[in-house]
């Protein structure tokens, strides 16, 4: 008993400390090489669009891909950077992704709240005419930014700004401007295409507003991360989510119990989840409250086979509306 802290303990403690430091060093050096050994893009390949008259665009997430596609139509070739079905909050690029970027004309991303790795790769992809388009710039910082999406506070801005269709309209304007700068001879074409998609967005916005105007319930519960703050804010709903605006945060026991109580007091019988996220917590919440689990798609998750289906973002949003109407008991 007295020898518990004897030489054996010291020896193994030292070993584990060493092991930890070794792993730390390896991890750090690996992380370093990801960024520094990136090969420079091949020369003479910087302006592919001018020869082919086609814009080469890379977008991080589905809504941006769809907006760009709608604006460019056949004058653009748009690649999706973050593969469908992957958690967009924890994804980060590998060197091969940077190579693709270096050959593109435009890179569309939301902003540092969704893609914090942007600032790191910016230095690695310098030798190209790539335009970096942060769509969060369309936000009126004072008015539009939502930082309190659920009932429980978080220190991050909500990055899911594409769930507000008015903001999407502004993003289309931005894309039309940027693409017209790269291909000035197609400016009128881009403007016309953009307008057509903006009309669709405005129609959808009106449909949402009308459908969600008269509802028995104005609170909806998300058994995952708080992705729907912008949507809730625009139509006067309240989102209550188990985790914050990114999926990493785990609710405390007390938060969990408070949400159970809130659901019971308001007779809420639906727990919304992401279609592709683990739903253990949502299941526990549903079991505790007798609620059913319904998927609500934040617009970035879709089966890979639907990747090139036109208008998939709009159709996901229409499906979401039906599910919300059901859950909230709207007329």
């Amino acid at each position: 008993m007295k020898n518990f802290f004897g030489p054996g303990f010291r020896r193994s403690a030292g070993f584990f400390l060493g092991l930890g430091i070794f792993l730390l060093v390896i991890t750090c050096s690996l992380a370093k090489t990801t960024w520094t050994t990136f090969p420079p893009s091949p020369p003479g390949n910087y302006f592919p669009c001018h020869s082919a008259k086609k814009l080469k665009i890379v977008a991080t997430i589905l809504p941006l891909q769809e907006f760009a596609q709608a604006v460019c139509q056949e004058k653009g070739e748009i690649d999706l950077l973050i593969p469908p079905g992957v958690d967009i909050h924890s994804w980060s690029p590998r060197p091969s992704h940077l190579q693709d970027l270096a050959q593109a004309d435009c890179f569309l991303f939301v902003g540092k709240d969704l893609e914090p790795w942007i600032s790191e790769i910016r230095n690695s992809v310098t030798a190209s005419s790539l335009r970096w388009v942060e769509v969060a710039q369309v936000l009126n910082v004072q008015k539009d930014r939502i930082s309190l999406p659920g009932a429980y506070h978080s220190h991050h801005h909500d990055p899911h700004l594409w769930l507000d269709f008015e903001i999407d309209v502004k993003i289309i304007d931005l894309l039309v401007d940027v693409f017209s700068e790269v291909l000035p001879e197609e400016a009128a074409y881009f403007r016309q295409n953009g307008q057509r998609y903006q009309d669709e967005l405005e129609k959808l916005d009106k449909l949402y507003a009308a459908s969600l105007a008269n509802c028995r319930q104005r609170i909806f519960v998300v058994g995952g991360h708080a992705a729907f703050g912008y949507l809730a804010h625009r139509y006067g709903l309240q989102q209550i989510a188990l985790s914050g605006v990114t999926p990493n945060a785990h609710p405390s026991t007390r938060t969990f119990v408070e949400i159970i109580k809130l659901m019971k007091n308001n007779n809420i019988k639906t727990v919304f989840v992401d279609p592709f996220s683990p739903i253990r917590l949502a299941k526990a919440l549903a079991a505790e409250t007798g609620a059913t689990i319904v998927t609500l798609n934040p617009g970035v998750l879709f089966p890979p086979e639907k990747k090139d289906q036109p208008g998939i973002f709009l159709s996901i949003m229409r499906e979401n509306l039906e599910k919300l109407k059901n859950a909230l008991g709207c007329q």
Partner: protein, 271 residues
């Protein structure tokens, strides 16, 4: 008015208590043997191995509890065999095996980008999502562990306190070591949902160390460890709700505080 006891009405909390208490019994009993055999770090090593087992389960879509049980028990057996065959110190073998386990886990996690969130619940514990199946497995395994310790009590006792006499009496020290290590592997896996892979070794070490400070006989030490462990897990789980802090932190810090208190008190009475 809501009372502080309202937490006991919730199904998830009842499951966490049942799982926690059965894990607590297993950990406390094993902990006493492991400390006396100077093999306390084995829990730490096997916890790292169970990390790989969880990652295997999550990436293949199996139940992580079962894949972790399977992988950890196999590795525990291999660990003992390596030590007995090579004559290496057991802490060396533990360091070898645990770094292998952790590296394998890291590899699997990096290959599959979708399992990160769920993996956290195993690293740090997650009392909100303990399933009924996990509770039943925990209770059954805790029961069998108690029965095994009762049945082989003499063998465990001899090989722990007097290996030479055990040999004379015809008890195989190697077999007892294998059994204890495999049981530790099972217990580590059961504890990971309650306090997490990173802290599960504390459930084995701290209550047993506290009991060994004050016990006069070996049986007292075993009983004391179980009492400490059950009390600390019960109060820790309640504190996690009352004070709104993570359950793993509440349980481990509470038991550590109690251990320090016991050390201070026994020091004074010894003077």
């Amino acid at each position: 008015m809501e009372t502080v006891w309202s937490i006991f009405h919730y199904g998830f909390f009842q499951r966490a208590l049942l799982a926690g208490l059965s894990v607590g019994i297993s950990c406390a009993l094993l902990g006493v043997f492991l400390i006396l055999r100077k093999a306390a770090m084995i829990g730490h090593g096997l916890a790292h191995v169970s990390f790989a087992g969880v990652a295997i389960g999550l990436s293949l879509g199996w139940l992580p509890l079962l894949s972790a049980l399977f992988f950890t028990v196999i590795t525990a057996g291999v660990l003992v065999k390596i030590r007995q065959k090579t004559g290496l110190y057991s802490d060396t073998v533990i360091a070898l095996v645990s770094s292998f386990g952790f590296a394998l886990g890291i590899l699997l996690v990096s290959l599959s980008q979708r399992i990160n969130v769920e993996l956290f619940s195993y690293l740090f514990g997650d009392i909100l999502t303990i399933s009924s199946l996990e509770v039943i497995v925990s209770i059954l395994l805790a029961l069998s562990l108690v029965i095994i310790i009762i049945v082989y009590f003499r063998e465990f006792l001899y090989t722990t306190f007097d290996p030479e006499a055990a040999q004379v009496a015809g008890i195989s020290g190697d077999k007892v070591e294998l059994l204890l290590t495999v049981l530790s592997g099972i217990t580590v896996v059961l504890g990971m949902k309650v306090v997490g892979i990173l802290l599960v070794v504390s459930l084995m070490v701290i209550p047993a160390a506290s009991a060994l400070r004050i016990a006069r006989t070996f049986r007292q030490a075993l009983l004391g460890a179980v009492v400490f462990s059950l009390g600390e897990i019960f109060i820790g789980l309640c504190l996690s709700f009352w004070l709104d802090i993570p359950a793993a932190a509440a349980i481990v810090l509470l038991s550590f505080g109690l251990y320090i208190l016991i050390v201070l008190l026994t020091k004074r009475s010894a003077q």
